[in-house]
Symmetry: C2
Subunit: 371 residues, 2 copies
DNA sequence: TGCGTGTTCCAAGGCGCTTTGACGCCAATT
DNA sequence: AATTGGCGTCAAAGCGCCTTGGAACACGCA
């Protein structure tokens, strides 16, 4: 048996609720209830609820009286109760896979999520973050769906043939992929044109006379890396330059990866005269390797990077440090979150894809081949 | 009036629930219900619930029968219903303030959160991320508490005198601060010893003969930066070196900040011979400025950084690139999340603080003063 | 006066789960 | 034979909100 009595507490706007259970005694300072609010107003819960949710059946006078009282009393409806009653979680899930090797949590995700979260809060959604240990484990998505925790999810760093796609389609949870699979039909995605970006970048290097162009790519199970490599190879083929395995590397995008691979390649008998690098962070390692080798970037060795426009790494100005293919992750986060919310509000919407344009921006890290 | 009928669907493990409302018709593929599960097992909901939650009142035979059926049917209780019934959200909130100026979402948060999220999932908690536009806006916390969205929060990047502290204490939401305020009594926090770290680092530079030591600090409204500066000044005082305003800077921790400030300082009539830098990222800008100036790091100019051990920036090995004070953010995330869960499970726990130890690791970016 | 038509409000049921008090049953005790 | 106590189970209430069908009332019209 539990008795409840509500007593006005110290602060006039708070109600304290003393709930006495046989086995425990707890005092919880709680915000106002719908019930309490309606009692206070001498109205039914229905009327108060309708007034607050802008239903037309309530007179303007009543509505404004209710709204004023709610604001004054600091009334905020219990999210979970709303959720249970309406069937909508008002929450978006972001499932970020840990990179396989080193627990690397990519800063790309962080910027993407920061941007998406702005959209969510604007539309009254919350953001739930899940870090996934293994991408092959479908239970994360099944769980999210079954637990009714989220109304939709954003899928991060998709692989060329990602098993998670089928799972999401099966459970019927709305989702948007940041990036895409090789099969890009039948689901929502937001991506940049990786293939074309790296093809153009490679062609630029070839035009500058470079013949030994190294590719420091991301892990090629990921579609973005796969497409970049495809673009790179296509440009080499069209330029009549042979593809060399020793000039290609693929790994998590860390500074140390860039340093080690570039160092090793620069130490080769016939070393590369140009590097195509998949991220700013990797390029920092490449730059370190180049200085260590006593070479000058943009003169002895050319470098083109892909620039995600991370907020704390500036690659702008009239003459940016690095020549780059450029595409904003923040923009992608914005587009993807919008798309997901649309999909949720309108479940019958046809799958949409957004291919973001990429710029090739000339900076001071490229120059004619001197070898 | 709504009629419900549950029919076995295509997949034997799914139930389809056709809910017919007067005004809308929807077919929702849903995971099994507690009700459905108990019907299927010919048991009451109570018994099934108790069996699943390991209450002792259920016989072993029944329990295992129930558990097997639940696993087979893919039953996962509705999170929101549990939450509503138990009063526990099983969710932790992380409130990350956007840096004031440039929408910078610090990679520190990302690593911290990635690490904390491991703890949460281990203990059955979810992680809800909120990006706060203004730190002065208390409504974020009031809202989280009133909406009953979370059981506790982690407070990021605290200021010396942070208004959020009072709000959190007032609403009675368990919380842990990542970092601390200047007043460090009466609440949970996890921090590193910023003061001592920067004092020791400064002393090392003084011992190496440097007299013009620049400090590229974070924003000094933040406690961590305030303490670092205090440590730096204390060491200078003890070393009998005057404090010079032109050698101190304070801003968001970006690469461009490091580059611009270091460039400007190196161009001074009497330029600094050493830099104390608050993060790896800023140090990258400093390194760029030093090379641009035609100087060699570790020889012409010494640099000590604080290294948060971000996963994609390696500063390890026998002789790391940068001499650094070192403290793992991931570790901090681990400690803070553990502490918060303890606080939640045991609300009467006394406030606890964890001061993480810091190492001063000698790398190749420091050397005796040559000026 | 009687009837439809709005307007404003309410009681009650439901979302899916936990928790409580109680009931039936059987073996062990008096 | 009557009582106790433990075990296994259940019906029902409750968490806080939304939603529905209908009631009460006032108004205009025939």
């Amino acid at each position: 048996m539990s008795r409840r009595l509500a007593i006005r507490g110290l602060f006039s706007c708070y109600l304290y609720d003393y709930t006495i259970y046989p086995k425990r005694f707890q005092i919880v300072a709680l915000q106002m209830n719908l019930k309490q609010l309606s009692n206070q107003l001498q109205l039914s819960q229905t009327t108060v609820s309708r007034a607050l949710n802008d239903y037309p059946e309530v007179s303007e006078a009543t509505r404004s009286r209710v709204k004023r009282a709610a604001a004054k009393g600091g009334y905020r409806p219990d999210m979970r109760a709303i959720s249970l009653a309406t069937g909508k979680a008002k929450t978006i899930g972001h499932v970020v896979p840990m990179a396989n090797k080193d627990d690397v949590f990519s800063p790309i995700f962080a910027e993407f999520i920061a941007s998406a979260s702005q959209t969510y809060s604007q539309y009254g959604y919350e953001l739930m973050l899940t870090v996934e240990k293994s991408r092959d484990d479908a239970s994360t998505y099944r769980g999210l769906a079954a637990k009714r925790a989220v109304d939709g999810v954003i899928l991060h760093s998709p692989q060329t043939d990602d098993p998670r796609l089928a799972v999401l389609q099966e459970v019927g949870l709305p989702f948007v992929v940041h990036g895409r699979m090789l099969n890009s039909e039948g689901y929502n995605w937001v991506d940049m044109d990786n293939h074309n970006a790296f093809k153009l970048a490679t062609r630029l290097l070839l035009d500058l006379g470079h013949r030994r162009v190294a590719l420091l790519n991301g892990r090629e199970e990921m579609t973005f890396a796969w497409l970049r490599r495809a673009g790179y190879e296509e440009a080499l083929n069209e330029g009549g330059v042979a593809i060399t395995n020793e000039l290609m590397a693929s790994d998590d995008l860390t500074e140390q990866y860039g340093y080690q691979k570039a160092s090793a390649m620069l130490a080769m008998r016939i070393s590369p005269t140009a590097f195509l690098v998949s991220s700013y962070i990797v390029a920092l390692g490449v730059r370190r390797a180049i200085s260590h080798a006593g070479l000058v970037i943009g003169e002895d060795v050319s470098v083109i990077i892909h620039d995600d426009e991370l907020s704390y790494f500036d690659n702008g100005g009239l003459k940016p440090q690095f020549t780059s293919t450029r595409s904003s992750v923040r923009k992608a986060g914005y587009e993807a979150s919008k798309l997901l919310l649309e999909q949720i509000e309108n479940p019958d919407k046809e799958p949409t894809s957004v291919l973001m344009d990429t710029q090739l921006v000339i900076g001071s890290s490229t120059g004619p081949c001197r070898a």
